[in-house]
């Protein structure tokens, strides 16, 4: 068995087990974040299973499911779970402020670049710098006052609409089956199979930027909050593992897109193991015994 065949099978095995545990937890406790994480993990699993199938042969629907579940949607749906989990900490508000702030900066400076003919470096720097200022202004003036829970609902509705649009686009696009080679990973040949300039490719960074901010940013923010309060170290370490896993796959995807290296299948397995380990650690019960001094609790007199 080659690495192209073995790695996706191993990733799919880990992710399916992970998704089943998350869905079981959702069935026991409820919680929108668990449902959305379960959906995101299922999309991840669909991508891995499609990779495993494609090591044996070609099927256009399998390729389309790989691109939809594995390349476009899974990070955004996983991140949406974190958005719900941190709705009380105003993560949805921050996300909306970031999206609006950077959209405003991009529209302003890309427009000015066309008028004034600035260089790419200047425009990128101006967008990066002013995006922070616009984000801060939008958050302070409007976004922080909105209901986090309602905003999470609006973001979920937008994600559903965007996912349906992406599904329509990937199933409508013609594929070049002659470019397929079962001996190569899909990550090494999807550019030749998909037509150049396909609309669906332009959607991929949007979903992945959103997913990375929500999933990785949310996990790091949670870890920082708990570390600062000096409580629940298992959740601190679990969140760090989740962030590390998500970044492993984001890093490999970025390198692949820039044509630098292709180790996406390995990164998927690393991401699956790290995120699963992080979830198990974060949801583990704290030990009953503590080395800290005996607690001195103030009881209410009423």
């Amino acid at each position: 068995m080659t690495a192209t065949q073995a790695l996706p099978v191993a990733s799919a095995g880990v992710i399916i087990l992970f998704a089943l545990l998350v869905f079981r937890r959702f069935a026991q406790r409820g919680g929108m974040h668990l449902l959305l994480w379960g959906i995101g993990l299922s999309l991840f699993g669909v991508g891995s299973l499609a990779e495993a199938y494609s090591a044996l042969g070609w099927h256009p629907t399998v390729f389309r499911l790989w691109y939809l579940g594995g390349a476009i949607l899974n990070a955004a749906w996983l991140g949406q779970g974190t958005v719900y989990l941190l709705a009380g900490q105003r993560l949805p508000n921050v996300l909306v402020a970031v999206l609006l702030g950077y959209a405003a900066a991009a529209v302003l400076f890309l427009g000015l670049e066309r008028l004034l003919g600035w260089g790419v470096g200047i425009v990128a720097t101006l967008i990066a710098f002013h995006g922070v200022i616009f984000t801060w202004a939008i958050y302070r003036r409007w976004a922080r006052r909105w209901s986090g829970t309602r905003l999470a609902g609006v973001l979920t509705a937008s994600l559903i609409a965007g996912s349906l649009a992406a599904a329509y686009l990937i199933f409508a696009v013609p594929l070049d089956a002659a470019a397929f080679d079962a001996a190569q990973p899909l990550s090494a040949q999807y550019r030749e199979i998909l037509p150049a300039g396909a609309q669906v490719r332009r959607l991929t960074p949007i979903f992945n930027i959103y997913g990375t901010i929500a999933l990785v940013g949310g996990a790091l923010y949670s870890a920082w909050l708990l570390w600062r309060k000096e409580i629940l170290p298992n959740r601190v370490l679990g969140n760090i593992l989740i962030a590390g896993g998500a970044l492993a796959i984001a890093f490999a995807s970025t390198q692949l897109r820039f044509g630098l290296a292709d180790y996406l299948y390995l990164a998927e397995l690393v991401a699956a193991i790290l995120m699963f380990a992080g979830f198990l650690l974060a949801t583990a019960r704290a030990p009953a015994t503590a080395a800290a001094p005996a607690p001195l609790r103030a009881e209410s007199s009423s």
Partner: protein, 61 residues
């Protein structure tokens, strides 16, 4: 020592702390890990944003 029923100011309450949170390795390693992972995340977001806005060359397109 306050007895049951006495009101104790918040700042005087001693909360149970897990042993790990008081270890020096944990106190040092966690913020370093958060900063490193945060920096990687920002770098990847800048690259992805550059691709999205057409500012960076994208061989895959």
């Amino acid at each position: 020592m306050p007895l049951r029923g006495d009101r104790v100011p918040l700042r005087l309450r001693r909360v149970e702390r897990p042993a790990l949170t008081r270890s020096s390795l944990y106190r040092l390693a966690v913020p370093i890990a958060l900063v490193v992972l945060g920096a990687v995340m920002l770098a990847l977001l800048v690259l992805a944003g550059g691709v999205l806005l057409g500012l960076l060359p994208y061989p895959g397109r």
